[in-house]
């Protein structure tokens, strides 16, 4: 393999991920955590930052954070504290964010990710808990912040519990970053702590990216990339950014430490205006909240409440169902899909592997086309199991089954009913098929001769012709046998 230009450079990525927790109430007050409500109808003195109001920590949010930390193999701090991060911004009611600083709830964890790059261990620096801000909308101009005339603030989101996960700079490619985000999403989903919807902002990924010449020991200039709204855009943004930085280094341009925003449409990143002053957040211990010192019993209780995590589930899928890693990868990409598969496998009388093919190939395509999660699909695991059984018994052909699946997906009706309605049955009557086979051989003498001459290749073409004439209802195995007996033996 020849040395490519990119091999001469080394990319280093650290990720900072914010996860909105799915709790009933906000982090420090009793306002409900909901989305899409009328503006400022989910606020109270606490989350509006009214004078005299005080925060009280949400127990479930603290426990969710500990769950995430434990699932990421972190240590739980013996002594943890909330700090105030002070800066002015109109979407922040108190003009400080209650966050964590040098004493996060979880620290020193790791996650293993696998893919085309092999296996990479990504260190988790910290897992901490904080509160979300409100939302600004910008009025006038193009409706974007930079040329708007004024802005409007809605504090419904202010105070929603947010977990921040910071990785070590152990990621070296866009592919690894994607794999990490996918793995983290699956893990968070299995814990049931968040909706993990990147498009809706319940999972937000920022990346610190730097590029340096291979073999150099000094770190490259760190650029923070924001506004990546899907796993795909994480990959695209990092690919763009690493290429941009590489080119800059090649041409001797000086890179600057800055924040860049990813633009979905153009697939590029662009610089935010350089900050006039470096940030000085004046962190100090939040005097309105007391420290956390989780007891061993508390940690143990949370540990024992953890569900089977994606990595363990993957291992079990290989052992229990005899699946290959590619199939396992797809099936465990979300907890709901893995659950769905297990339900279908349990309902199915044959080898689970057969159900897998239907899920990984056909169902997955339908889900992608519809843009929905398996949980939202009309088809049930038991219905899929019965569909595969119809094929097994020879009642319908595989090709017919694909059509039936399409209908099931669209309507949620049972496979038997759809097959009957469509008048589907498989022609397995040798006598009837024999005539069609003879007809096809007669109409394609050249192809038939080739097969007779020992070239088996075009046999498939002849099978196809038979299927066409029977409108797909012929049993393809039987057609194959008949053709062979006439031409080969």
């Amino acid at each position: 393999m020849s040395m490519t230009a990119t091999d001469l450079y080394e990319t280093t990525v650290g990720l900072e991920i914010h996860v909105e927790l799915a709790t009933a109430s906000k982090m420090f007050c009793g306002c409900p955590v909901t989305f899409g409500q009328e503006p400022n109808t989910r606020t109270c003195p606490v989350c509006l930052g009214l004078p005299g109001s005080l925060p009280v920590a949400n127990e479930r949010a603290v426990e969710h954070t500990m769950k995430i930390a434990l699932a990421l193999d972190c240590r739980i701090a013996e002594h943890s504290l909330f700090h105030r991060k002070n800066y002015f911004y109109p979407d922040m009611p108190k003009n400080y964010q209650i966050s964590q600083y040098d004493l996060p709830l979880g620290y020193a964890g790791a996650v293993e990710i696998t893919g085309g790059f092999g296996t990479t261990r990504v260190g988790i620096t910290r897992v901490h808990l904080e509160e979300d801000t409100g939302k600004s909308i910008h009025v006038g101009g193009s409706g974007r912040i930079h040329d708007s005339h004024y802005s409007l603030e809605d504090f419904n989101r202010a105070g929603t519990p947010l977990v921040e996960i910071v990785t070590e700079p152990d990621i070296h490619s866009a592919e690894e970053a994607r794999a990490f985000v996918n793995e983290l999403r699956a893990l968070l989903e299995s814990l049931g702590v968040s909706d993990v919807r990147m498009e809706e902002g319940s999972l937000r990924v920022d990346a610190n990216v730097s590029v340096r010449r291979a073999g150099e020991t000094a770190h490259g200039v760190k650029v923070e990339v924001k506004n990546m709204n899907s796993v795909r855009s994480v990959g695209r943004a990092l690919e763009y950014e690493q290429e941009r930085q590489r080119k800059a280094l090649e041409s001797g341009e000086r890179l600057i430490q800055e924040t860049r925003h990813f633009d979905e449409k153009s697939g590029t990143t662009s610089s935010g205006r350089a900050k006039e002053v470096s940030s000085d957040y004046r962190y100090f211990a939040e005097p309105d909240l007391v420290p956390f010192e989780p007891t061993a019993e508390w940690i143990e209780r949370i540990k024992s409440s953890l569900p089977e995590l994606p990595a363990a589930r993957r291992e079990r899928f290989v052992a229990q169902y005899g699946l290959g890693s590619a199939d396992v990868e797809v099936l465990t990409s979300t907890t709901s899909l893995a659950d769905w598969f297990e339900a279908a496998a349990a309902a199915y009388k044959g080898e689970p592997k057969k159900v897998v093919n239907w899920i990984v190939a056909d169902l997955f395509r339908l889900l992608n086309e519809a843009g929905i999660e398996v949980g939202a699909a009309k088809i049930s695991p038991a219905q899929l199991a019965r569909l595969v059984e119809l094929v097994d018994s020879g009642a319908i052909s595989g090709k017919q089954a694909k059509q039936v699946l399409g209908d099931m997906f669209a309507t949620g009706n049972d496979p038997e009913a759809i097959a009957a309605e469509r008048g589907m049955q498989q022609i397995s009557d040798e006598g009837a098929l024999d005539l069609v086979v003879a007809e096809v051989i007669e109409q394609n003498p050249g192809v038939a001769d080739k097969v007779r001459g020992g070239n088996i290749g075009p046999l498939g073409f002849l099978v196809g012709q038979v299927m066409k004439k029977t409108k797909g209802q012929a049993n393809p195995g039987l057609v194959n046998d008949l053709l062979r007996s006439k031409l080969v033996e």
Partner: protein
């Protein structure tokens, strides 16, 4: 010893205080004097002394995750200097603001 003017300007910016020229001059003087008095603690042997951030030794205070009624939109906005469409209105936000 007065604190220097650059520091006064920096701190006034961090604190979002649009101080007049005269106020800045006076701050530099007065803050200097107060800090001079505070300097007395620099003489104390404080190595190994833990900082106290809270006057109570309470730990692990939490509330159950239960939703409670919020204010109505009208109540939330009742003290707003300027509101529009159920939201608080503010002059345009410059990007370096953060």
């Amino acid at each position: 010893m007065p604190i220097d003017r650059a520091a006064v300007d920096h701190v006034a910016r961090l604190a979002r205080l649009d101080l007049s020229e005269q106020e800045r001059r006076r701050m530099s003087d007065e803050l200097g004097k107060i800090l001079e008095h505070a300097e007395r603690i620099q003489a104390l042997a404080l190595d190994g002394v833990e900082p106290t951030s809270h006057a109570v030794a309470i730990r692990n205070v939490m509330r159950p995750d239960e939703a409670r009624p919020s204010l109505t939109q009208e109540e939330a906005l009742s003290n707003a200097p300027v509101a529009e469409g159920g939201r608080f209105s503010v002059p345009r936000i410059l990007e370096e603001e953060e």
